[in-house]
């Protein structure tokens, strides 16, 4: 009796295996087109950014103009610059006296923080001579008011050494972050200085005082 499902006995396959080359995927016209489109988009983007330099305008600080004695409202604080003073000798109120080949300029500032504690860290003087004078959180030209708490006015005196010709028309700029003022409020204070101020201070060696920062208002002379 035969078994219909029976299979014939397997015979060994003695033929050697034929190597099959792996299929290589060739880039299609569609792939190449997509790549070209990406490159074209990048090129157009580069041309647009180069031809229309919008970065500087988009990232520019929001300058808030003010004059001496007039409070300026910033996003993070209310700031008031007092009457500037100057001399060729600075008294930093630490027992030493600092000389300068130019003129020391001091500006008393009152800081009223808005909403939360703020430690203002940026300051620079734009001289009337077109040059920029750095004011750092340490060193000779100095502004480090410390943290102002909301509801408690903070008093600090900024000091910067400049050549006398920088004083007439000088503007003081104050901001929050020392390293980055992009898209941020920055006070731009016209100090109202004249050539007469520059001449008088350049000839004066009476030390001008730059007292310590405090929550107490400075004593009036």
């Amino acid at each position: 009796m035969s078994t219909p499902d029976a299979t014939p006995a397997a015979t060994p396959d003695t033929t050697p295996p034929v190597p099959v080359a792996p299929r290589v995927r060739r880039p299609t016209a569609q792939t190449l087109g997509a790549g070209a489109a990406v490159l074209a988009a990048l090129a157009v983007g580069h041309v647009v950014v180069t031809a229309f330099p919008v970065d500087e305008r988009v990232q520019a600080s929001f300058l808030r103009p003010a004059v001496v004695g007039e409070p300026v409202e910033l996003r993070y604080a209310r700031l008031t610059a007092g009457e500037p003073a100057g001399s060729t000798v600075l008294d930093p109120d630490d027992g030493s006296l600092l000389a300068t080949p130019g003129v020391w300029l001091t500006v008393p500032l009152t800081i009223e923080a808005t909403g939360q504690p703020r430690a203002l860290g940026f300051a620079e003087l734009l001289g009337g001579d077109g040059r920029t004078y750095v004011v750092f959180t340490g060193g000779r030209s100095w502004f480090l008011p410390g943290t102002a708490q909301p509801g408690i006015a903070r008093y600090a005196t900024l000091r910067v050494e400049v050549p006398p010709e920088a004083l007439p028309g000088a503007h003081l700029r104050i901001g929050l972050e020392q390293k980055d003022q992009r898209r941020e409020d920055v006070a731009d204070i016209d100090l109202g200085l004249t050539q007469a101020d520059a001449d008088a201070w350049a000839a004066d060696d009476t030390p001008v005082l730059a007292g310590p920062q405090s929550d107490e208002p400075p004593e009036q002379p």
Binding site: S96, R131, Y133, V134, V135, F136, G139
Partner: protein, 228 residues
């Protein structure tokens, strides 16, 4: 002509992959691959200014009392002296001494520059026993402090339009003999954006002038008056 540089099994795999580029590259002799690589490297460096003409062959010779431009400063080196006592300056160990390079400093840019850039602009080499180690990014040893002669304060920031008389101070181990000569290096900086930080500032201190100067013991004003 020498044969292909690549091993046979790698070349066989390249043939099996069907990639014409890979097969042709691996069939090349080593010399041709080397030449091709060198040309490619040259092309890449050229794209970043590698073939631009050099402004100068090497540092110029620094002369005493001659003002030189090393952006962003104009520096005039007057003398190199050593002393064990300097009011307002504090040595890390008793018995050490200061080696001071006295110079006139002017910031010739249109904005104030922090003292860290000035520190990199003038360095010292060829002096044994300096307490500070040579830097990685700046040739020579940078000063411990830069003191104004007028009041002893640290010179920072350096404002434009002002002329400062200052001493670049280097602390030397007191167990080493005071130097008789010192090599002063003046570095100039480049105003550019950082590679990672878009902020534009002074980068790449590069030695522009180099001078071996005599070193003598500092004479105080009182001693000078006594000699007269």
């Amino acid at each position: 002509m020498p044969g292909p540089a690549a091993p046979p099994d790698l070349r066989a795999r390249a043939r099996q992959s069907g990639s014409t580029v890979a097969r042709r590259v691996l069939d090349q002799p080593l010399r041709r691959i080397g030449i091709g690589g060198a040309v490619a490297l040259l092309a890449v460096t050229a794209a970043f200014g590698g073939l631009q003409e050099q402004a100068q062959d090497g540092p110029e010779v620094l002369a005493v009392d001659a003002a030189v431009e090393v952006a962003p400063f104009e520096l005039t080196v007057h003398r190199v002296v050593w002393t064990t006592d300097l009011p307002g300056q504090y040595l890390s160990e008793d018995g050490n001494r200061w080696v001071g390079v006295v110079a006139t400093v002017r910031n010739t840019s249109d904005a104030g520059v922090l003292g860290v850039t000035l520190r990199d602009a003038l360095t010292l080499t060829g002096v044994d026993g300096l307490v500070k180690e040579p830097g990685v990014l700046v040739p020579g040893v940078t000063s411990t402090s830069i003191a104004l002669l007028e009041d002893g304060s640290s010179l920072s920031p350096v404002q434009p339009g002002l002329t400062y008389e200052a001493a670049f101070l280097f602390e030397q181990d007191g167990s080493v003999a005071p130097p008789t000569t010192a090599t002063v290096l003046l570095q100039q900086h480049t105003w550019r954006k950082g590679s990672l930080d878009p902020t534009v500032t002074w980068w790449d201190p590069t030695t522009a002038l180099r001078g071996e100067l005599d070193v003598r013991e500092a004479v105080s004003d009182a001693d000078e008056e006594g000699d007269e």
